[in-house]
């Protein structure tokens, strides 16, 4: 389906069984909203309008209600992200231990500011609140892994390992 010259595809879950299973865990449909959003994000990389419409249909509510929920959580992305998501903790311990330098490093080397994604989609940079590992500050989460006690050099080497 082409509209405005852009390819517009309707989102559907690639794993309907998982969807069924999620629904079976709750007594009312609406409760499945969050897990479905996570599932959709793991499939698509972000929550598109089409995802929102699809989930709204599935849980029997309006798109605005799903959108309300999506916009509440910072870990649900409404825009496409890079292949690897760098989340630098910016709360007290990490900040005191040089988190700013880590952010600046990425900005200098890959030319992306917090919130931005590289043109080739390799990295997305984000500043986040406390990751709950303050004892090993500064902490950076890349995709799902924590990397602790980082110096700029260690961080630089680490980043090189992500394609």
């Amino acid at each position: 389906m082409k509209s405005n010259g852009k390819l517009k595809q309707r989102f559907t879950f690639s794993d309907p069984e998982r969807v069924e299973q999620i629904f079976s865990q709750y007594s009312d449909k609406k409760s499945a909203t969050l897990p479905l959003l996570h599932l959709a994000q793991s499939q698509e990389g972000y929550i598109s309008n089409s995802v929102i419409e699809n989930i709204a249909d599935l849980v029997d509510c309006h798109s605005a209600v799903v959108m309300d929920c999506v916009s509440f959580y910072t870990m649900l992305y409404t825009k496409p992200q890079g292949r690897h998501i760098i989340q630098v903790c910016q709360t007290l311990s990490c900040s005191l231990n040089g988190a700013d330098a880590l952010v600046d490093h990425v900005t200098d080397k890959y030319e992306i500011k917090p919130g931005e994604t590289m043109a080739n989609d390799r990295f997305t940079l984000m500043k986040v609140e406390c990751l709950g590992s303050c004892g090993t500050a500064p902490v950076v989460q890349i995709n799902k892994e924590y990397h602790e006690g980082l110096s700029t050099q260690k961080f630089d080497k680490l980043l090189e390992s992500f394609e």
Partner: protein, 529 residues
């Protein structure tokens, strides 16, 4: 029934009543924002905090329910709940909450349309602090359109979510949501689904502050300059109760007036913005008589005399045509004058629209078809053949100012007439074809009753002054009647017309403006048939 002690007052109330409702019903003021009687309770604004004995923290009174408690837990051996709405803690908390709500508020009441009817203003004045301790920079956001007629001023919004709940629960259209969280939260509409339903105007009414504004009224006037007059919407057969806000002879806005037997708390945008129609219409404000292709003005005496002459000369071959837009009284008087009316102007019907909450816009877009049918039972369906059969050659039409495209049937009827008298407030196509035009009143100028499609009779009060030389429709009909030597009927006011009408139509017996009051009365089906 549970026994509540509130501010030292003992009150017996129904189990399941909230403290806020109990207080309100007993004349104790508790300030509130997010609570609205038509919407689900969310208890999010914290404005309504009160002290409940036995509870360590202040409680939101909008979401605290009074119920029976077992004897051993009764306070002082008899109270199911003891509430204090005035103590120092509550007073201090109210100040704090207001200070929070005003953190980012621009304090721009002098240019805010809500000023004068704003709960932020009123409560600040009554319960708030004169000063804020916040000296950081305020968060500033530009205004946005949520829909084509609704603008949001984010800086004034207190995030009570009334507007969001309205779209979820009342209109069921759900265009609005709270975007993001905490300090970043704001009211937003989906990009591809703006707030454009026919109930959208209500969100500006239920917004307790000046955040939601109707583009129709924005920066037009100040509320304290306007005259407020209760009336009834005449754009469909529901007859929503409204307040008309006007200045001199101009309506500035309509807002819904609470009536649980008709419209609840709301009205639709067709009715809300419908009054603009009267601004565009070419008004007739003087009696006129045809002179070739144009009209000559003449005075009332002459106009009435000429009208009566024409009717007399036609030897009973003049027919009365009523309208589903006119009041019961005008339609009734025309019947009285012509010994029964013959037909009516065509009613206007569109699709009925019903919303999730049950709010309804009637398919019948004329306000008084039911009343007209009750009172003019003799109206014929097939007007052209009846005109032919009775050899009618003159018409007296109660025109309603609605510019219908005259269809061929009507054109044919008019072409056959020797004369047509049109009583109207607007220069409609019909009026243009008249021999005599008698200037009556426009809908919000009239006084009288209309009957809605569920048999409820409601009182229209005139909200605007008459224009030019126009006169009340019942008065014009009475003058013509007099000139026709039907001397026995003189009425001092429209109230007397109602009385006489009641004598002929049992269902309407005993009605008076006094009995109808602000909310009208149901005929309980007495009038059908």
């Amino acid at each position: 029934m549970p026994l509540l002690k509130i501010d030292g007052k003992e009150i017996e109330i129904k189990s399941g009543t909230t403290v806020l409702q109990a207080a309100e019903a007993n004349g104790i003021e508790i300030p509130y924002y997010c609570y609205h009687p038509a919407l689900e309770i969310v208890g999010s604004c914290r404005m309504c905090l009160v002290q409940v004995e036995g509870m360590p923290k202040l409680q939101v009174s909008c979401n605290t329910f009074v119920g029976d408690v077992p004897p051993e837990r009764k306070v002082d051996g008899k109270y199911d709940m003891v509430v204090d709405t005035q103590n120092d803690l509550v007073v201090q908390e109210r100040k704090n909450i207001l200070e929070f709500l005003l953190l980012n508020h621009p304090l721009d009441c002098p240019v805010c349309d809500q000023a004068g009817e704003c709960y932020l203003q009123d409560y600040s004045f009554k319960f708030g602090n004169a000063h804020s301790r916040f000296d950081e920079a305020k968060r500033v956001r530009p205004n946005e359109y949520l829909g084509s007629q609704i603008v949001i001023n984010h800086n004034r919004c207190i995030l009570c979510s009334r507007c969001v709940r309205f779209t979820q629960e009342i209109s069921g259209t759900s265009e609005l949501f709270v975007e993001a969280r905490g300090y970043n939260s704001k009211i937003a509409a989906l990009e591809d689904k703006p707030l454009d339903n026919l109930l959208a105007g209500n969100v500006a009414d239920i917004c307790p502050v000046g955040a939601l504004l109707s583009t129709d009224y924005i920066h037009k006037n100040r509320i304290w300059n306007l005259k407020e007059q209760p009336s009834v919407c005449q754009d469909c057969s529901v007859g929503c109760n409204v307040d008309v806000f006007s200045q001199r002879d101009q309506i500035l806005r309509l807002t819904p007036r609470e009536n649980h037997d008709v419209n609840g708390y709301f009205m639709c945008d067709i009715g809300r913005y419908g009054f603009h129609r009267f601004e565009e219409i070419e008004r007739v404000t003087q009696p006129m008589v045809r002179n070739g292709e144009s009209f000559d003005a003449l005075n009332w005496d002459k106009a009435i005399e000429k009208t009566a002459d024409l009717i007399k000369k036609s030897n009973g071959k003049t027919a009365g045509i009523v309208s589903p837009f006119h009041t019961n009284e005008s339609n009734f008087l025309l019947g009285l004058m012509m010994n029964g009316v013959l037909g009516s102007l065509p009613p206007i019907t569109k699709k009925e629209i019903t919303y999730q909450s049950g709010f309804r816009i009637s398919a019948d877009r004329s306000p008084n078809r039911r009343g007209m049918n009750n009172i003019c039972g003799e109206i014929v369906a097939d007007l052209p053949s009846e005109i032919k059969a009775q050899a009618i050659h003159g018409l007296y039409i109660l025109d309603d100012g609605v510019d219908r495209e005259s269809d061929d049937v009507w054109k044919e009827i008019l072409a056959k007439m020797d004369f047509v008298v049109v009583q109207t407030y607007a220069m409609t196509a019909l009026a243009r074809s008249a021999n005599i035009i008698l200037p009556g009143l426009a809908p919000f100028e009239r006084e009288g009753t209309i009957t809605n499609d569920r048999d409820r009779v409601q009182w229209l009060r005139s909200s605007l002054p008459k224009k030019g030389e126009s006169r009340a429709d019942w008065e014009i009909l009475m003058m013509v009647m007099k000139a026709l030597d039907k001397e026995e009927q003189t009425f001092a006011d429209v109230g007397q017309v109602i009385k006489v009408m009641g004598e002929k139509f049992p269902a309407y017996k005993g009605l008076s403006f006094f009995r109808l009051g602000p909310h009208g009365m149901s005929l309980n089906g007495k009038a059908s048939g």
